[in-house]
């Protein structure tokens, strides 16, 4: 996570369709979009924005597999090596009886692993200050943002022209 502050030029739109139109126009004009913010997940935005599918679910599978192996191997070790006990005349290594706990640990590890990974890669944690551009983004505004920290005045004018053309309801500059 970059900690130095950025100067951001952003436009607010009133509707997700306006936002999608603007993002399309921006990628057609080869403008370097910093980020797009919205009050809810806008469907169909990811391909226009060029976002690749999240790989979180692969990790979920790996965490789940770890949970399954951990659960099954722990029970196996305990009941065959560490302290073998006969329960109801059944074999020490009674695999069917291990299935429920193995399943629960698979789910437990997958859920916790994925959730912790999600918050970590998003840089979200209790106490993190939200680098929010506008407090209406979580309400009803759709925001398209450009990083203009190192842009020349003419570049900024160019971007402002773009916002005017794509019918942004508001255009502002903010340092976050």
């Amino acid at each position: 996570m970059a900690t130095e502050s950025k100067k951001v030029l952003y436009g607010l739109y009133n509707d997700e369709e306006d936002l999608k139109g603007a993002v399309r126009a921006a990628s057609a004009a080869h403008l370097d979009i910093m980020d797009v913010y919205s009050p809810f997940p806008v469907h169909g935005l990811d391909p226009i924005l060029g976002l690749k599918e999240s790989r979180l679910h692969y990790l979920g599978f790996i965490y789940g597999a770890i949970g399954a192996i951990f659960g099954f191997m722990t029970m196996t070790w305990i009941f065959t090596r560490d302290w073998p006990i006969v329960f109801g005349g059944k074999p020490y290594w009674s695999v069917p009886a291990f299935i429920p706990i193995t399943f629960e640990l698979t789910v437990l590890f997958a859920a916790w692993g994925m959730t912790i990974t999600f918050y970590t890669i998003c840089g979200m944690w209790p106490g993190v200050e939200a680098k929010s551009l506008d407090h209406r983004i979580t309400d009803d505004k759709f925001c398209l943002a450009f990083d203009v920290t190192e842009s020349s005045a003419s570049d900024v004018d160019n971007l402002k022209g773009f916002f005017a053309q794509s019918q942004a309801a508001e255009v502002n500059v903010k340092t976050i």
């Binding site: 997700e16 369709e17 469907h43 706990i101 789910v107 859920a111 999600f118 209790p126």
Partner: protein, 478 residues
Amino acid sequence: MSQAVAPVRHVLITGNKSYHNITEDLCTPTEKSPTREWIIAFALSSAFLGLYVFAIVWTVWKGIGEWGANRTVNWAWDITNFVWWIGIGHAGTLISAILLLFRQRWRTGVNRAAEAMTIFAVICAGQFPIFHMGRVWLAFFIMPFPNTRGPLWTNFNSPLLWDVAAISTYFSVSLLFWYTGLVPDLATVRDRASGLRRKMYETFSFGWTGSAKHWQRWESLSLILAGISTPLVLSVHTIVSFDFATSVIPGWHTTIFPPYFVAGAVFSGFAMVQTLMVITRKVLKLEDYITINHIESMNKVMVLTGTIVGVAYLTELFIAWYSGFIYEQFAFYNRVFGVYWWAYFGMMFCNVVSPQLFWSRKIRRSIWWTFFLSIVVNIGMWFERFVIIATTLARDFLPSSWSYYRPTWVEISIFTGTLGLFFTLYLIFTRVAPVVAIAEVKAILKVAGDQYVGPDAKHGHHDAKKGATAAEKKEEKH
């Protein structure tokens, strides 16, 4: 002028809402001072919570002998209440997970509150087995960990231990699912607040900004959590039923238990969701978000699951007769006509007969009928667990040990006390977090809002055109 979407599509958000209206309507209950109804309800439920604390202290101080459970009926009110509460929790996961996988849009109106209900119900459920252990300060013995007693491990072959794993996993995964869904909405509350309140919501919303990549990951996470919660919720009540089904007690030792318990759990859970939603929508003025269409959809689930439960009851009786095994036959004869016959007929009436009224569209769409029948079903499902547990145990293998079970004031206080615990938690929840998922409702506005799909939908005009095309595009996606 083309129809934007099929006219059969249900309107799920009424009142011609804009995105901003949705934020306003759903955030204000957390921002205003509590209403008089809320204060009265809170005072009442905290009083019951106090009773709960008193009865639990009494139990721990004096021992389980203070309960009516005896040597023959050793699982009585406690396990009945445990199974009842766990079952109630299941509707929350069903709504949030299974309906997400099925892309049922009506879930968005009720999922947040139903998930909260799941978490609170599991908390209530957990009290019973923990305090039934007797020496509750040794409750940590159920967790396997290296220790100086051997090491003495837990018995991984026991369904009771599977239950520990299932319920603790269920609780923690439900909590993650609920809270992750809540984070964007807490950010909405944060962005409207100032001062200390803002600081608090800043902490609880983890620095959420609404970035496109974050939304993408959030959706991916929600979908996978839904995907793994679905078998999880089925496993939880399956394992609860194993507590009975793997025993050697006639009347418990049946293979029908897992599906029958799961259907019953969903049935009772929906009843509790209805009870809560009918009150919540009225008190918090959320009739535009939790509409009659939502209530009707849930009533349809209830008539389905209620019928499955009814079929299961009859199948049990049939199989008992068909088995030709006199002990099995006696167990079921005793269940119907034995000492607790009134509980059996109460169960049959509440769970099998009463939900059939929902075949009538008029009753399905009536608030009063829904509320009344939801209470009836809640009672019926409690009876079901009581019938399975107490009736079966009261007439065990040796006629000389047959006995009868009556709850003492301690057990009654603990049970009504957990209702107090449940409602106290729920009432606090309605004050601190939006009870309807704001972001998810906004996301379905254009496919389920009345100005887009209802009878007064605006089509073909300049202002509505944009919405209509958006709705069309969204339709293609699904």
